[in-house]
Amino acid sequence: MKTLDGPNFWRSLEEYAETPEFSEMLGREFPRHASEWDGDEDGVSRRRFLELSGASLALAGLTACVKQPREGLVPYVKQPEDVVPGRPLFFATGFTLSGYATGILVESNTGRPTKVEGNPEHPASLGATDVFAQASILSIYDPDRSQTITKLGQIRTWPAFAEELQARVKTSRALFGDGFRVLTPTVTSPTLAAKLRELLGVLPKARWHQWEPAGRDAARAGARLAFGQPADVRYDFANADVVVSLDADPFTFGPGSLAYARAFARRRRDAATGGAAPPRYYAIESTPSASSTLADHRIPLKPSELHAAAAALLSAVSGAAVSGNAAPDARYPWVAACAKDLKAHAGRALVIPGEHAPAEVHALAHLLNEALSSFGVTVFATDPVESEPVDQLASLSALVADMKAGKVDTLLVLGGNPAFDAPSDLGFVEALQRVTFRARVGLYDDETSQYCQWHVNETHELEAWGDARAFDGTVTILQPLIEPLYGGKSALEVLAAAIGQPAAKGLDLVRAHWQKQHPDGFDAFFRKSLHDGFVAGSALPPKSLQAKGTVPAPPAVPRTGIPGDLEIVFRPDPGLFDGRFANNGWLQEVPKPLTKLTWDNAAHLSAGTAKGLGVKNEDFVRLKVGGATLDAPVWILPSQPDGVVTLHLGHGRTRAGRVGNGTGVNAYRLRAAAGLWTAAASAEKTAGRYEFATSQQHFNMEGRHLVRTATFEEYRRDPEFAHRVEEVPKISMYPGFKYDQHAWGLSVNLSSCTGCNACVVACQAENNIPTVGKDQVRRGREMHWIRIDRYYEGSPENPAAHNQPVMCMHCEQAPCELVCPVGATTHSEEGINEMTYNRCIGTRYCSNNCPYKVRRFNFLDYNKDKHLPVLTLLANPNVTVRQRGVMEKCNYCIQRVNRARMDAEKENRRVRDGEVLTACQQVCPTEALVFGDLNDKTSKVAKLKAEQLDYGMLVELNTRPRTTYLAKLTNPNKDL
């Protein structure tokens, strides 16, 4: 201080006084205690102060909440009977496809139908459904359904239509109905048939035509050839030791397929668990079917060879020379062994002709069954199930001819979509436009409606009264689950209007019909039939018919005359069927069996044929049948016979709706009356590339032991074969968790799975799983919680195909749980790996660490369409609809587990075995999936897991999966 220059300034009196405190302060630079704002016992320290102020600032930001919108709630004034909010009701009704019914139970949540289940007591369902019935629930709510009656595009009322229709009937009456025609799809409905006959009674010269694009003309004609009268056959696989399919797809296609699949799978399972003899299944086919994944032998044949092969088989079985096939056919070396096998099991053998095989092959199959004494044991002939079995192609052709000739002035099209699916060379559309009065009753304002003046919006099956028969003739009365969402009339009501009852209600019409059949105790009968979902004892009794007659001459094999021509095979699409489900997103997106294609159809070629044409996957070929051409993208299909191209029908719609327009190519353009199921075609490569969206790109197991297979013989020799392939780590650093309540687990039987996809769609319906669209599937973002992996094994020309349903394995040591930073996926004390959607921030780490890749991520807002009010009705109220950015996956239908647990707790008991059925298990036609409590040693699943066939996938990673598989067993013929 003293050395300072300049005037002697001072800053304070203390400085001037040169007190020691001030000197110290100057020297210290920082005020005393600055480094520690001293907190005494009662004070607040500097650190503490900062802590508190920081925390209060941080917490202040966390109080924000979402403001709920104002909504009015109106309670029931009178509670409807049986309605308990939060508990669904189930109503028995039926789902029809091509006229044939499957009994279903529909879940109704506060008046909204939300899920279809099979009716366990119905012979065509046995508790299962197919993929179409599962997806039908989405179609009810389809916002693209037609919602009004229109005339030339203008909205009209029902009375206006009824009046005009009645006027037409009145004028026709004067001509005894000449020129009045009705076109329907296949009809099995007794009430509808009765109404049609009533109309024909009023108008005797009117005619009723039928057209079903995936119809059964060949089966009808084949039965006539063999039995000399119309008949239907049904099969009993439970008694069949050897099954030969002649181009049939018995387990995944056709009205009886659910029952057939169940019986066959049960036979195989019994053989695996018990000591029973396993059944054997030969699949002789012109294009690989889903059923053939269960086959013990697959024999690819061109469709034109089918007849010769069947004839050779008959000749070898009956020992008699068959006309034109005196010598054993050297082209079919397998025939001898197959015939020997059939003969050895005569009386327990079964030959099934494919629905799309020519009539002559049907006749041959009947003769084979006759020769093998199968009738009455594995095959039963009955009267036809259809109300009016006619040759539908002839029926439609006659209609078109009459329309062209100007003989038709009134045409009522009840359902169907003939403008889209009639044979292309008939010229249906042109002929249609020559009809003066054209009215169409349809679910959609589609290709046919656009050529009709009147369009009447039809009710969905689950909105209307009706009835239908199942494959064995059992009648189901269809009851509505909901008041028609968009108004609308059923075909039945429209017919009633035509005969002068425009105000008749579906219920009254159905009741009136059945009252006539059961005048005594009708109310009880009707109630019981509705409750049970079928009319007891209405199955058609077996008739003793004899298949006789000579071997029919082979059908003319069409040729294009061009060397190297191909045979084209048309098949209904595994998702869209004949095109009717084109606007159903679930069915568009479900990966087709074997090909795993979504949102498209393709020209399926064998690798050899593709090479010959110089095309690769996603190239275009120009297919030519007669004068029609179609450019179709190529997808190579292993097991496809060389020289055969398969096209699935139903794609390429133009007026299906927002979902279904423009997916795939329209195969109907090539489908002429002369070649409904097969035709000669020429093919050449054309320019352009197409992009397919598949859910699985690699079909080779890369030597990994994912699907484990053996023959029954190998299995009997080495029952432990499924466990010889990997080392399972047995050590752990920690004691295992003790599951002392329930320990849920699932067993999947690979010997049973046909890959039919019913579980995939059932899961989608149960768990509010969105569809993502073709572009997203291409990017690898499909959302299905359960997928069916398909692997090929063996030669690329004719490999064995294996289906493996894969869903969350619920690993006891789950790799996903460990890595989630927010604990959004955790293990329940019952062993279920649960997702807490609300907590998920979407790092996708769990999916990366999941060796099974079963987790699904909402990359974008896939539930946008759920904002449509009508689609909100579809959602299962017990399952959260997931936000974008959230991970999701199978949780063993936790909502069903919880429901069962609550019920059990109320009744103070344990959950019973079989009380919880997961959606996939419930729908499975082959009972391949069994869910239950592993702690209950008597449960079905615990017993299955104790089997020697039981193995876990990737157990070498020490994940300890709760979902395990039963290895696939086949029963090949040693002579082949």
């Binding site: 930073p821 660490n849 699904r856």
Partner: protein, 461 residues
Amino acid sequence: MSAEADRPPVIAPGYSPATVTDKISAVVLRKTPKWWFVGFAISFIALQLLLISMVKLLILGVGIWGINIPVGWGFAIVNFVWWIGIGHAGTLISAILLLLRQTWRTSINRFAEAMTLFAVAAAAQFVLFHTGRQWLAVYWLFPYPNTMGVWPQFRSPLMWDVFAVSTYATISAIFWFVGLFPDLATLRDRSKHWFGKVAYGMLAMGWRGSARHWHNYEVASLLLAGLATPLVVSVHSVVSFDFAVGILPGWHSTIFPPYFVAGAIYSGFAMVMTLSIPLRKVFGLEDFITMRHLQNMAKIMLATGLIVAYGYGIELFMAWYSGNGFETYMMKNRIFGPYGWIWFLLILCNILTPQLLWLRRVRSSVLGLFFISIIVNVGMWLERFVIIVTSLHRDFLPSSWDMFTPTRWDWAFFVGSLGLFFSLMFLFIRFLPVISIFEMRTIAKGDDPASADTKDMGAVP
């Protein structure tokens, strides 16, 4: 010590503390050069791309990227690991080399540290934005007390990541800022413009250069260096746990932590080199960032590059030696699979090219070093791509195998993050001394920094 004599000097001869101060502070205090505007404009446009992409992502979701199931992590995590890796050099230089008394570090540590900060800032964007619900991830990843009693899941390596990266960012920022005080004070005192005086004055936090200040500074910087040192090793080790803890073939490997740390230092020095070469040129700082620095960095790159190569070798060896079919397939797929070309490119960039650094001629070529450093940066990015995408796209079940194809938004985020980094970098070189002035003074004269040139430091009279 003839070898020592052969080496180029750490600072060109003839500099006194005063001239060092003049030269470095002039970079900040003179008029903004034209090239700066051009460079900054380009970076700033790229930064806008990042912001646009973020808005798009927040509106639509991470589905705008090419990721899918099985490839749940794509460019975002590749970029994250790459940026975090780059950030490593700064801390290594400022902390470990400080503790090891490597005086040559003084001229590069300032901007290496800045680079670290900006790289961590770029990396942080990806941590947050790669999640599905960013608006929740932004705070749910932190352990905050809440009424529901829900805490993060501490077993998850992602959780460790959050702590490691946020700690790293905090320590780096403090270290860097504390180290700036004396120079900020210098700028405050030299600034002619009132705004400069005020701004630098506030940032200097009242630095007056007293002995007590210097004493506290020394203690603080040693403490921070001590804290930062383990972070150099821990951060990238923890980042590597994201993969090593996973059970995926190609991830599940004990070599990951050291191999990732070496890779991080490798890429970090490559980036320092990439930045320092043009920087010394445009600012005429060749006297301070001399060939000695470049050569030292080249040697570190060579050494860490060899460690990385060893890592690749061990991965190959273990794929064979383990006898594990999944591992073997992963390696085969890595080399010969659909992304095989990326692996070969990676070997070329990361292992073969840097071998040129054995040659003294290459080490003394500024242009050569510049190109090699860029190649290494590219290579390290490819390495992360190979580890993340190539391992994910074909794992255990062949049925779920798929390809990852980046979309334009993947690229937009990457370019945008470069924009963020370079925008910050340009702001830094314009407004702050790129070289630590006071530390340079110590080597210019070899005195205690506290006694050097007190006139400029606003000392208390």
